[in-house]
Amino acid sequence: MKAMRFLLTLVFGAVMALAASTAQGQTVQINGAGATFPYPIYSKWFAEYNKMHPEVEINYQSIGSGGGIRQLSNQTVFFGATDGPMTPEQQFAAPGPILHLPTVLGAVVPIYNIPGVDTPLKFSGKVLADVIMGKVTKWNDAAIAGLNPGVKLPATDITVAHRSDGSGTTYIFVDYLSKVSPDFKKTVGVATSVNWPVGVGGKGNEGVAGLVKQTPGSIGYVELVYAQQNKIDFGSVQNFDGEFVTASLASVTAAASAAAKAMPKDFRVSITNAPGKGAYPISSFTWLLFYEHPGDRKRAKIMVDFMKWALTEGQKYASDLSYAPLPQEVIALEMDALKRISL
């Protein structure tokens, strides 16, 4: 008994001491939440920034774009992150004007798991839409086989893996599919959370990648780096000009070039199905969301400094993680926009 009590006091004491010691430093913690799409690069950025500025701890939780927008509107986090720009209703519901700041460019790729198929498959927008809607149900369907002559496709059922949470990645994907398939636009529509006709739900990019990796015959959609880091097969997609393009830094950058020249002031632009040679059709900007007039000046200053770093030095890390760095024109516009945040 005595021993147990002693042990307990020791443990509590140790925890309290540790607490006191960590609270001692002047560390500032800033909480953010949102998209899983850019989580790999954000976690890299925040870790690197913390190495450079140990007193700044930026805690980012990837709960999905929908979550990021919601928590930002509730002001339970200081900043949000999303790959689907906020709708006018969402912006209206927030307690103050919110700035969308693009950070990197990424690609959403169609991942699949077909045992026995080694060559990357080609998808056209319409076929992809039909598969996702559940209209094409077997891998050896004529529609898929027609695009991939010479590939031996099995008669396996197609299982669609989609997001169970509100997701900017979903937004990008359905935005593209709605542009290439009026049927899809009517049946499913464009939003961060849609009513999927068929399929299984996974939480976050991580969840969908995990589902596809473990389920033979499945197809899903994730950010490029998730497919690469987990060595999951993904296909090429037919772009606006008719070419079958595989997602890569070059093809994503090509998709952004037209938009970069005509970037709207609030940076909310869609670059899916972009015209241009070699442009990857399911590309997108991803944004960090900040209040223009946050109450907390100290944190605002820290985040503005961080953004300046991310837009310059931070862009170096993008390509290693298969995100395309921002075009220079966009960065210049953003540096300007940062001034809008009242410090």
Partner: protein, 326 residues
């Protein structure tokens, strides 16, 4: 002037009120939970009314919230889990309280307690990496003719109703069995002695004891059901998270607790959040009714006999008292 006895009675009154206040806090807590849930789900309650529970479509985009798929998923998974687990749990309870040699009793009881104490997330982890692939294999080897039946239809995902029911069953077994054991312990030995005196076999004596405590046993089963209904983490990791209503064992479905865990942090608008909280409210009410009912049934048996001389192992109390499943 305060006499010693009057001072004592005012002290005693202070004691009663003081401790009573803390006891009141417990009551206020439960009332507070109900009130808070009710208040924040007003938006959804007033907009949908009863339609909420008959609607089949859960579509956050268009603002159409029908919670029937979740009720279906919760009930189906919990009933299945009880069908699988109850015989086993009762078998264990009977074995441990009637049949096992004394020397085996403690270690076996300890082992079943351990099963009850394993956190839900650990079961979930095991479920995802061990159970789901096993179920997927099972689906793959299911012959074509069986797959024609709706009960066995669906692509071989592994995640789905069967995995959820199995994992729930494993989690509920130790729980139900320890409560059933408590009930059986409360049955006076005279019941069994009378049976033996009349020439009963072991089984018949046990059945006599079971008959005496039958309301309590039913209470134990209902408690287990309540635990299955509220289980969150393990279920959400293996059920597939698809709000569809189907009798298929293999197709992914969704439960009330699972949708709360997945969608709460990102309910993007007030109506969505309010709809989710309404689900939480109903979950609360369901578990309240289940607990009240089962407690009543168990109490009926245990109050007849006050045979508590040694303290119950405290760990059983914590884990076998109706624990909030997660």
């Amino acid at each position: 002037m305060k006499t010693p006895s009057s001072r004592r009675s005012s002290d005693d009154r202070g004691f009663r009120l003081g401790t009573g206040f803390f006891a009141l806090l417990v009551v206020l807590l439960v009332a507070g939970i109900f009130w808070e849930l009710y208040r924040t789900s007003q938006l959804s309650l007033s907009k949908f009314g009863f339609r909420f529970w008959t609607g089949k479509t859960w579509d956050p985009v268009s603002g159409e919230f029908g919670a029937l798929p979740f009720i279906w998923g919760t009930l189906y998974s919990s009933v299945l889990a009880m069908l699988i687990s109850t015989p086993i749990a009762l078998g264990i309870a009977i074995f441990l309280s009637e049949l096992s040699p004394r020397v085996l009793r403690t270690p076996l009881a300890f082992l079943t307690e351990l099963l009850a104490a394993i956190p839900s997330i650990v079961y979930g982890l095991w479920g995802v990496f061990v159970l789901v692939p096993l179920v997927r294999q099972l689906q793959v080897v299911t012959p074509e003719w069986m797959r024609k039946f709706p009960l066995f239809s669906g692509p071989p995902l592994g995640v789905g109703m069967l995995s959820a029911a199995l994992i729930l069953a494993v989690m509920v077994i130790p729980f139900t069995s320890s409560v059933a054991r408590e009930v059986l312990k409360a049955v006076p030995y005279t019941q069994r002695e009378a049976a033996y005196a009349l020439g009963a076999t072991r089984l018949e004596a046990i059945l006599a004891a079971l008959r005496f405590g039958r309301t309590g046993i039913i209470g134990a089963i209902i408690l287990g059901f309540g635990r299955a209904v509220g289980e969150t983490m393990a279920v959400t990791m293996v059920i597939g998270n698809n709000p569809q209503i189907t009798t298929s064992l293999f197709k992914p479905q969704y439960t009330m607790a699972a949708v709360l865990a997945n969608e709460f942090t990102e309910a993007a608008d007030d109506l969505y959040l309010s709809a989710l909280i309404e689900i939480g409210l109903v979950l609360f009410i369901i578990t309240l009714i289940i607990n009240a009912l089962s407690r009543l049934l168990i109490w009926q048996v245990t109050r007849e006999v006050k045979v508590k001389t040694t303290p119950r192992p405290v760990s059983t109390m914590a884990f076998s008292a109706p624990t909030g499943a997660e």
